[in-house]
Symmetry: C2
């Protein structure tokens, strides 16, 4: 059933944007006053601030600190409409996007900004046993797991098994570094919670990286500083270390070693969202759609691919999968649509590299800006905090996140230490779950007596 | 395997408290400096502020605003230890509590404060199709459901089916009244989110009560005011209306009428936690354990039952299941244990009735205090807000809750409008789930690509 907007905007060209991450949201914001009507589609009803997802996993922030209702962002705007839905097919010839539940959207212009998903590189056991960190539920799930491991160990040390408090983070990129740094801070915090053992002595965090250094895109002084800080804070950093297989209670390394661990966080790599596979277009090794310089798909000038889903040719190969690339490419696609509406030719996308920053933990971060300016330590961390709070502008959550952060900073605490019970799977069919074949519960699962 | 605390407190009498709700928490706090060692057991690692659970369900507050990590409350205290666990059996003769996972706790004194659970009074379909509101996951689940119903309706009105936006609340007690009042406020808020229909016109809330008036324990002027305010705000209040059967898309009433609804909230009644059935003791109709005047179980002077689990003889029958009764009875049990330690006789529990209050919504509440002082309207509401914020003292969440409330008040908004995806069931066995026979997932459920 085609979709019609019964409003004054219904005769305008229809722009469909798939994905309400950084790229899709920026595209929609850019078009909010344009002479078009926009349908912004996402599987979730919220935009998430991905760079702080690890803080939710490490009990520093709550989900609502980093997630914002999309409809709320466009309240009062007649141009942009939100649609909760999962894309199951794309028909560029007929200019249609098919959503789960036999619905379709006809478009005049399509922006695909469905982001990236975790990839296991085919390593056995990762999908079954490792904890990814791409979505809010991933973060809540990992938080539950970590806190439960401490409860288990406290209850019956022997029964908890070997590696109960060994937390392995795989992947030495920004996410892995942030996670590892946050893990050791969490061990500190939890030490006040558990009187019967020293969490700082008993819990361990290992950070495994296949290459020979952490944070590969950074320059040597920042990389060295990162490793030094992590090690000084108690993280066991192991570079040149590849994972061969993951089991529920251990990880097998390529060099033959076996590490007992019951909680392995997979921060080793991403590939484009499966939405990228729905186009009959060229893709790179990470499934990204190889786009033309104006970010359209070759042979489909009305289809733009932006953000983490797009392989955008830059000066040194494809542009990296960063928030800034996503935001700028989302804006560029929206701008090109407006140019086409005035019959102007499209322009080449050029990424304006503002620099990059990664936090290692309290008072420690690395930052590199254009012009070769680099910061390490407190100053970089302070900048990181300021910039990330500034980025949360528009979130009503800003104040609440600031409160949580300030509280954590001054009390050395991590306030969000709730093990949230299972929330039942969606009762709304596969729309909000896996695209297909997912088993969904029929009714709310009641949560029985306490305790 | 018996539990031993390897600390300086290990030779002290061992008090086991089951349940970290109002009653159990108060008992533990009362004993925090006593010459005992306390093990506080709960199925969850947090204490929840039950009176505001409905605000989580109605997107006004987030789970962490009303839930507080129990270990955090007793940080630095050597007397009180927390244990995450589910009670599966009690052996008063051997003074043992058995927890899930073949663990047991030996006690010298036992305080049972496991609270109450929702009861369906044997009405068919309630367990399968109605939404209870006793736990944090219940609240998140109901919030997801309500928000999804609006998304569904917005997407394809016809396919959403009859009653898609009809929300039926069953039970005219404080929870039902609060829920109904919050529903119509939510319809207001959501109207800014949905441009294509008027949520205030299309959505309905019905409040069904079996008896002939709302808030039966209140005096007539307060009851009349409550009904008048709810009706003025658009709630369809139906008293003398009993539910006969609940189906997924409708509710059958005892008078033969059938109301189409896809979301029925069950706030009609509670019974004692199944933990009450583990004692071989007299129970009332609602499964509560009938206790002696000192709150012990007859024939088991070392077992106290307090809070919603206890049938405590008062002036007019058993005391009501209110937070104040729970707090005072929890404190009383802890006091009696201390008296027994000094070889004093136990004292009779006397409930000091401070009064009661219920909110109907923005600027409207009813309150009755000792001495016949009653308030209705803004003043009662203001008192309600002040008292509830004061009660959150000790919660780090206080400030955050205040921020959320203030935000809602001044913007007529409800900020927590996130549909949180399914979080996988516990991977920790049935401990945090149903006591027995529950199917638990083996591994975290990954949440697939977005959108």
């Amino acid at each position: 059933m085609p979709f019609d907007t019964p409003s004054s905007t219904s005769d305008r060209p229809h722009v469909v944007i798939v994905g309400a991450g950084f790229a899709g949201l920026e595209a929609a914001k850019t078009l909010r006053d344009a002479p078009v009507r926009v349908t912004l589609v996402d599987r979730n009803n919220y935009h998430k601030f991905q760079p702080l997802l690890y803080e939710v996993a490490m009990a520093g922030l709550e989900p609502d600190d980093i997630a914002h209702n999309v409809r709320n962002i466009f309240q009062g705007n007649e141009t942009v409409n939100f649609r909760l839905g999962t894309v199951v097919d794309i028909d560029p010839a007929r200019q249609q996007v098919h959503l789960h539940g036999s619905q379709s959207l006809s478009y005049d212009h399509l922006i695909l900004a469905a982001g990236a998903v975790s990839t296991d590189f085919g390593i056995p056991g990762v999908e079954e046993h490792a904890y990814p960190l791409k979505n809010v539920p991933d973060a809540v799930n990992l938080r539950n797991r970590v806190l439960r491991q401490f409860e288990r160990y406290d209850r019956q040390r022997a029964a908890a098994g070997e590696g109960a408090l060994t937390f392995v983070v795989v992947g030495g990129g920004p996410t892995g570094v942030e996670m590892a740094g946050a893990f050791v801070e969490l061990f500190d915090t939890l030490n006040d919670d558990f009187a019967q053992f020293d969490t700082r002595e008993e819990a361990r965090c290992l950070l495994l990286e296949m290459e020979d250094d952490l944070l590969p895109p950074y320059k040597a002084p920042q990389r060295a500083y990162t490793r030094q800080v992590l090690e000084a804070r108690g993280v066991d950093v192991q570079t040149n270390t590849a994972v061969e297989r993951v089991a529920p209670d251990r990880v097998h390394l390529a060099d033959g070693r076996v590490l007992p661990t019951q909680t392995l966080v997979w921060a080793a790599g991403v590939k484009a969202s499966p939405v990228a596979n729905l186009l009959d277009a060229e893709q790179d090794r990470a499934d990204r759609v190889v786009v033309s310089p104006d970010l359209t798909v070759p042979e489909h000038p009305d289809v733009y691919v932006v953000g983490d889903m797009a392989a955008i040719e830059g000066e040194d190969g494809y542009e990296p999968q960063l928030a800034q690339v996503a935001i700028q490419s989302g804006r560029h696609a929206a701008d090109q649509i407006q140019r086409r509406l005035r019959d102007a030719t499209t322009e080449r996308f050029e990424y304006w590299d503002l620099g990059q920053m990664a936090t290692i933990g309290r008072n420690a971060a690395v930052a590199e800006f254009a012009g070769g300016i680099a910061f390490r330590g407190f100053m970089a961390w302070f900048l990181w905090v300021v910039i990330h709070i500034a980025k949360l502008v528009g979130f009503r959550n800003r104040l609440s996140a600031l409160v949580n952060w300030a509280y954590n900073y001054f009390t050395y605490n991590r306030s969000a230490r709730l093990i949230l019970d299972a929330v039942p799977l969606s009762d709304d069919g596969p729309m909000e779950g896996e695209a297909e074949g997912e088993q969904v519960t029929e009714r709310p699962q009641t949560v029985g007596p306490q305790p």
